[in-house]
């Protein structure tokens, strides 16, 4: 897309706080915040400033569309008397500021599951509809980043309503959707030099991403590898802690539980993980995924084969969180490479 000058605005970095103050009047503002040892996205509190000098947040901002715990219904007293329905839940418009392109890509991936012709998850859709996303280009990717492997990159703009690029002491903000353009219309136009500098950064940006994996043909190949011994090898050191699934921006498996305290109760959707045995345990005691290698296989297969087969896109955005946080250094890039290196014999093929 050719950058149109009219949609290019800029703001001095030290003026951002004022802009945010202005926006907060009408919007809930979600932005990265520096905590003790890590950066986290959260709703900005009174006078809280965003921290934009970060590589990426520890947790994925998927929680603002698919919360870790979310009420389906609340109830009270007699069990059939529902006191809360979807419509009652607050509907204030939100802005997520500074989301990295990989995380935005992950939301585009999740859209295909939560909003499709079979069923629409109204909870997800509602949060999706009332949120504007301001993406933030990555001038300096992390060593574990591999977003360019998935038709994305450090300046991938699809899914953003506006896009921020940091240049020196300024942020260049590009309006992309109508909603995004409107939010920044009062800012000053960027001049030619700024736009040129921005173009320079973007031009070579993909080369700055330190690692990549070749995922072409991986989905097709995995189809023939369900019974392959590689899964036992890969899962040998896995502890089954599930941190990869909790931090993964595209992991979307959830549980539904009822919680009651005294007379008041709620039914909630909770994040769940395919790495836990209880995830698939039948009431009868039957367990389709008894061994850890089967659960590891499910995780990889779901992302790189099943999801692709169902929705035409691989469920990985290359953010590298599962790599940085795994307690036993399991690296999904290595897994993909070993899958790539497998020579299929006739017996592995169906």
């Amino acid at each position: 897309m050719k950058d149109s000058l009219n949609n290019m605005k800029y703001i001095e970095k030290n003026k951002l706080v004022e802009l945010i103050k202005e926006l907060k009047k009408d919007y809930i503002l979600i932005a990265p915040v520096k905590l003790k040892n890590f950066v986290l996205f959260r709703e900005l509190k009174e006078n809280e400033e965003p921290y934009l000098d970060f590589l990426n947040s520890r947790n994925s901002p998927k929680e603002f569309f698919f919360p870790q715990t979310e009420n389906i219904v609340e109830f009270e007293g007699i069990i059939d008397k529902r006191v809360s329905k979807l419509e009652d839940i607050k509907n204030k418009k939100r802005i997520i500021l500074g989301m990295r392109p990989c995380d935005i890509k992950s939301i585009l991936i999740l859209d295909k599951l939560f909003i499709n012709e079979d069923y629409v998850d109204n909870y997800y859709k509602r949060l999706r509809d009332n949120t504007l996303i301001f993406g933030f280009g990555c001038n300096k990717p992390r060593t574990t980043c591999f977003c360019t492997s998935f038709e994305s990159g450090p300046f991938f703009k699809e899914g953003s309503d506006g896009f921020i690029t940091a240049i020196g002491d300024k942020f260049i903000i590009e309006g992309i959707t109508e909603g995004g353009k409107k939010l920044i219309e009062k800012l000053e136009n960027a001049d030619k030099d700024m736009v040129k500098a921005k173009g320079e950064i973007e031009k070579n940006a993909n080369d700055t991403v330190p690692s990549s994996v070749k995922v072409e043909k991986i989905p097709e190949k995995l189809r023939e590898m369900f019974e392959h011994p590689i899964w036992e090898e890969i899962s040998e050191r896995c502890l089954g802690c599930g941190v990869c699934t909790y931090l993964c921006p595209t992991c979307h498996c959830f549980d539904i539980q009822d919680e009651v305290i005294n007379e008041r109760g709620r039914r909630v959707k909770n994040w769940d993980s395919c790495m836990f045995p209880i995830f698939t345990l039948h009431g009868s005691g039957h367990q389709p995924r008894e061994f850890r290698y089967q659960r590891m296989r499910q995780r990889i297969m779901h992302k790189f084969n099943y999801y692709e087969e169902n929705f035409g896109v691989i469920a990985c955005c290359g953010c590298g969180r599962c790599i940085t946080q795994c307690p036993v250094n399991i690296d999904v890039r290595e897994i993909i490479s070993s899958i790539k290196n497998v020579k299929l014999t006739i017996s592995n093929e169906k």
């Binding site: 389906i72 079979d118 539904i256 039914r267 769940d272 395919c274 698939t280 039948h282 995924r289």
Partner: protein
Amino acid sequence: MNNPYIPIPVKVDRIRFETDDRLIKTFDLVFIDKEDEKTFKYFPGQFAELSILGKGESPIGIASSPTEQGFLKFTVMKVGVVTTALHNFDEGAVMGIRGPLGNWYPIEEMKGKNVVIIGGGFAFTTLRSLLIYMLDKNNRKDYGNITCIYGARSPDLLCYRDELEEWEKRKDMSLYQCIDWKFGSKGPIEEAAATGWQPINLKEPKNTKIKPGIKKFTAFVPQLVSAVKPTAKDAYAIVCGPPIMIKFTIPVLTELGFPPERIFNSLENRMKCGIGKCGRCNIGPKYVCKDGPVFSLKELENLPKEY
């Protein structure tokens, strides 16, 4: 906007014990709002999430047929939190259901064909729905011969015993029942014979000559299928039962000449959402809740063996 997570309110209209071990009960549910009944359009083989606020939800096959008006029937074994709460209900209790969910038996495709229904234990629920549907006076002409083979561990564990008696007498279908009582040197087998359950040649079941009029046997389901020898010509087989029964019944059907695309199974897996989102009931890329629970053997042959 329609919200697939919100249950529809229903009232428990009638409860009765289905089996003598008192672990299985049948519940007739009626919609509290009659509008809901109109929009709840279902077919034999589909299921619903039985929803008890404060306890949770449990996916259960619909045992009534859409040709039966005014109620939904569910036959439920007491297993976990939700089903135990359900078993503790009195008639008149109010609860919720979500559905209908999943796909159904190929009732259109089977028109003009013979149908063999094979069931084991309390997995007979959606098969009952199918049978009632096909035997309905408006639908019976659409199908050829209907053969039903149904087995349980003992006579008191067969579901829908009143209806089994009726079906036994019908001229427009054949019902074969079996029980797999342990065959001791004396004991159960003699007792079984005295109450009308006839032995079959267990070593070579297909050599058993079934005498006309005898419809109750001491055998396992696969052996009875082998002895009854239903013709595969223009026929579909619908199989629902415990995994071990399915495992041994499929080869018998294959030997009888049923091709994989005319053998259908109904599967189950742990489920939560029932609408293909929560991610736990998949077999390969297919979700049992949304793409199933009914799968042809041909479909299953193309999926990983992880169920």
